[in-house]
């Protein structure tokens, strides 16, 4: 593979042009409705130049970023999940026929004006999240055909984080700020002078890179990228200790903390909707008034919704405490048994976009403290019991 290269800031437009010429629908970060979101991008001038974000539990604000910096923000409001695993996916249509009904399969390529998707500005956490979705949706006995079709043709341009947000903790879960394997190209935005270090990580990335007006990167460029990663790592707003979670959370099933969280939790499902790895869905049949046409849709669902745990006769998790417990325990502990990885990539979205500002890193810390205090008391009383009765 060709070595790392340097792209001038004006080269971003060339990158967009090359991707579009190759038939991609290019999505990139842009300011919309008071946030930086992923949206269709044809013109590099629409990128959020000089715009930053301030993120805290339950709070997001745009702010002035470093002037000229194109990727000087933390995360987009929604991750590429909404593109590769859309919130509402038509699976098939059924039509009434003279002697029964017919089923018409639907594939992403059948959508009007369908083009493969290229996403510019995927963060390390989101690259890792796509890797987790690949495992969950492609790596098991039954491959998710719609996801497979979108994923296979997608092109990902990752960008190293220079300005992690107040709710980010990718460094402590090992997914950033430098994107790991999983994208096609990795950009790192360097300053003085303003330039982009570009690394191709797949053959498709290599082919695109070959069409860009670049110069070979120097050792100084690579050192500048390393320094940027180091500075960004030091700026992480939050951290999560992960080594004990596989045991801690299942052992804390009866922790009093779940009830305390349920006092605040709104069971609104925002956390799961913005989480780049949450993949739970429901299936809905929508028929028209005549009943001659039926469409089966797969729509995002959430372990925070009541009908989600409906088993004949009623819902199992009627209390919000049991839903939060399910979410956190699955995400951080049983996910490891199921998929060989944690389900959390440290993007911080569930913290920022929770209207109640519930922070999983703080909740895990509290649950751990309570467990330790409980163990200490148990150990002390155990001693007593043994002392008194033996």
């Amino acid at each position: 593979m060709a070595g790392p290269a340097i792209l001038a800031p004006s080269g971003l437009q060339a990158l967009l042009d090359v991707l579009r010429a190759r038939g991609y629908r290019v999505l990139g970060p842009q300011v919309r409705d008071g946030a930086i979101v992923l949206a269709e991008l044809a013109d590099a001038a629409a990128l959020p130049v000089g715009v930053g974000d301030a993120q805290a539990p339950g709070r997001y604000r745009l702010r002035d970023g470093e002037p000229d910096r194109v990727f000087g923000f933390a995360t987009t409001a929604q991750s590429p999940k909404a593109v590769l695993f859309p919130p509402d996916e038509l699976l098939w249509r059924g039509r009434r026929t003279a002697d029964g009904f017919s089923i018409e399969p639907v594939a992403p390529a059948d959508e009007p004006d369908h083009r493969p998707v290229a996403v510019l500005g995927v963060r390390g956490c989101d690259v890792a999240a796509i890797g987790i979705h690949d495992r969950v949706l492609l790596g098991r006995a039954h491959v998710d055909a719609h996801y497979a079709a979108r994923r296979e043709e997608a092109f990902l341009v990752a960008v190293t984080c220079s300005a992690p947000g107040g709710t980010c903790f990718c460094a402590s879960v090992g997914t950033g700020p430098r994107p790991r394997a999983g994208s096609d190209l990795v950009l790192t935005e360097l300053t003085e002078p303003h330039r982009f270090l570009v690394e191709a990580t797949t053959a498709a990335g290599e082919a695109v890179l070959a069409e860009l007006p670049t110069a070979p990167a120097t050792a100084d460029d690579l050192a500048a990228a390393d320094a940027l990663v180091e500075a960004a790592t030091a700026q992480m707003g939050r951290s999560l200790r992960t080594d004990d979670l596989h045991e801690l959370l299942p052992a804390s099933a009866e922790s009093p903390r779940w009830a305390a969280i349920a006092e605040r939790c709104l069971a609104c499902t925002n956390c799961t909707a913005v989480c780049p790895t949450c993949f739970c869905t429901g299936v809905e049949d929508a028929s028209d008034l005549t009943g001659d046409l039926d469409e089966r849709h797969r729509v995002w669902d959430s372990c925070f919704s009541l009908p989600y745990s409906y088993i004949h006769g009623g819902a199992v998790r009627t209390w919000t405490a049991s839903r939060y417990r399910q979410w956190l325990t699955h995400k951080l502990a049983s996910w490891q048994d199921q998929f060989g990885t944690s389900g959390c990539v440290g993007c911080g979205r569930c913290i920022t976009w929770c209207p109640a500002g519930i922070d999983l890193t703080a909740e895990v810390a509290t649950i751990r403290e309570l467990a330790e205090a409980h163990d200490a008391v148990a150990a002390a009383s155990d001693g007593d019991v043994l002392g008194g009765h033996r």
Partner: protein, 294 residues
Amino acid sequence: MAMGGRTVTVAGRAAGADPAAAEEVGRDRRPTLAVWKFASCDGCQLTLLNCEAELLALADRVRVAYFPEATRAAVAGPYDLSLVEGSITTAEDAERIQQVRAQSRILVTLGACATAGGIQALRNLADVAELAAAAYPRPDRLAFLARSTPIASHVTVDHELHGCPIDRGQLLEVVAAVLQGRAPRIPSGSVCTECKRRGTVCVAVADGLPCLGPVTRAGCGAICPAHHRGCYGCFGPQDTPNGRSLASLLGAAGMAPTDVVRAFRTFNAGAEPFRTATGPALPTSVPDAAGGRP
């Protein structure tokens, strides 16, 4: 009260039907649909009229047997599907809804009035005699119940459509479901689910706008946040609403306590989770069936 003014009894309408029309419909095998109005503003019924394109398909499938907003023709019950708008606010209406139920195979309530008592249920939280005296020159001429109650407090309801007004898509869905003999798709979770599905940036988190979406039932498609407004809860409580948490969040964000109370007490003030989100509702001692004044 004026809101409960229109009182057309089922029996009276049926007896007054045009014999020729009755003869014609006698050969008609299409299921019958009736729309009934109680204390309400007509907005939900008008949603049905606004389904112009779909109504054509509907005319093929159902016979509109009683629909005061759309047609003057009326036929005798029983009806396959009754859509009921409005809350129960008078003794006559309390009687009439029993007749409607008795004549209806499937009964669906439309909107905040019929499902939660409507904006007029605000009087459930006040001294209704005092209100009447303040609003009318001759309150002694009024005949009304002290409380505005949802249809389900009086008769069994098969499906409920929420909203002020209802969503046309949901209305067509419930009609289609009844015609096809299946369960309608009526979500019970929060408005937030619809915000996220349509990709709206959360106005509460990104702008600090007060938004009742987290405690409010989905169904409208999250219209208000999509137009950069906080949800004001017109669909009423979601299936597991945490009104107390949202009320304290609104307070912490700087909303005055009286405004927090008001935010929860609008079209769905009669819904228990909204009524009690800001603490015990006052007063609670108004008797159910006693009139405000004789």
